[in-house]
């Protein structure tokens, strides 16, 4: 699916109320991105136009859930 990982991750940031417009939001987004990478997803492979394997999207969902950030729906 085109851009699935990229889109899901950006939607997740929005659900947390995070944006790159403030130093605080930018730094929190960086921390989440680093955790996703450390848990095995190389985000350089997942841009808006990449054709993403659905298994990778499921992996992302599991990783984000494990971060246990309460504001995320």
């Amino acid at each position: 699916m085109k851009g699935a990982v990229y889109k899901y991750l950006n939607d997740y940031f929005l659900r947390l109320g995070l944006s790159e417009n403030s130093l605080s939001g930018k730094t929190k987004i960086r921390s989440i991105r680093i955790q996703v990478s450390l848990k095995g997803i190389n985000l350089s492979e997942h841009g808006p136009d990449s054709i993403d394997d659905l298994a990778e999207l499921e992996k992302l969902k599991i990783i984000l859930k494990s971060l246990n950030l309460p504001a995320a729906a």
């Binding site: 960086r30 991105r33 955790q35 095995g40």
Partner: protein, 380 residues
Amino acid sequence: MYKNQYISSQLFHNSSEIPSTIQDKNPGLILCFYGADFDYTTLFHTLKKTGIPFLGCMDIARLSNSEYHFETNSVAVMTISKEILEKVGIIAYDMRKTTSNHSMYQSSKDEYQRILKKLGFDLSSPDMERDFSINLLFGLQSANSVLSAQNEVSLFQQTVGGSSGGKLDFVSSSVISSKGMGSIGATAVIRLKPEYYFLIDRASSFDPMEGKLAVTKLASPRYILELNNRPAAEEYARVIGKSTSDLGAAVYAMYTLGIEPGDGEKLITSIMKDDGNTGLLTYNDLLEGTHLNIYKAKLQYQDRLAKLQTIDKEKLIGYISFDCVLCYLARDANKEIETIAALYETTFPGTPKIGFGTFSENFCGANVNQTETYLAILKR
């Protein structure tokens, strides 16, 4: 000595000179990085007597203001004034080589949680401009278990630091702190006063290469057996255009591995050596299934310049660098020592600067290699 109203930095060759030099600066925290032949036991006891919280470690070489120092008998010292520190807490935890990863994870987690709560930090939502932690971790142990514990305690508490260094025989590498010394990890938890803020960032100097290496079989987190379902050393050599007989420390440093968090940054994992067969040992933990990028090292000047230019030099009052031992050695090999030192000095003239050659670097909860991570302290 470089100093301003808030921070000072100086190189010493004798511990006894330190207390009288720093006492008029109202220090709330001392950082120090010392060579492998410096008497760190005396340094520990000298600093302990001052009653000031401190954190320090052994290194292979160090940055003190405008110069890199490769001699093994000096110590670079930075004092940070109480004027800018609202809260400081120091913790230490066992990282001896005989200590298991689980034990390091648990003890560092318990201590980190305790100190953050004691100081009244909000674990789920720290002040992203004033709250941070500096780690100095025993360099002959993996930093990953400590960092993953800290991430679990507070994902957003920003961390920076490195693993202690030493001589390249990897025999000795100590950490000292006001809570103990030896084969330990030590962390300073800090909140700046509202008039000050910090930046944590990283710099590395690599160009991406074609191809990917999927980690398909691990013997342990730092021991790769297969890449792309082929023997690891053979596949690594193939993608970088070498034969396995070419592989060695210089090639591993030149052609390194990593992943990216999708914002243009790189989290580098370096190869340490082969296993005598077709496996590869790394300086960082890996997970099976990870797709690694391949990078080729280049000169450091341009990337460092680009990063330093993002810092507001009018507001900068102190700069602390955690710079991989391999970056120090690469600068030496590429005759970049003076140009890079001059770069820091011309970009931030007169600003107190300190740093050391690390056995691995921390960056916001990640353990990375062949990278400079840094902490910049600024006045609003």
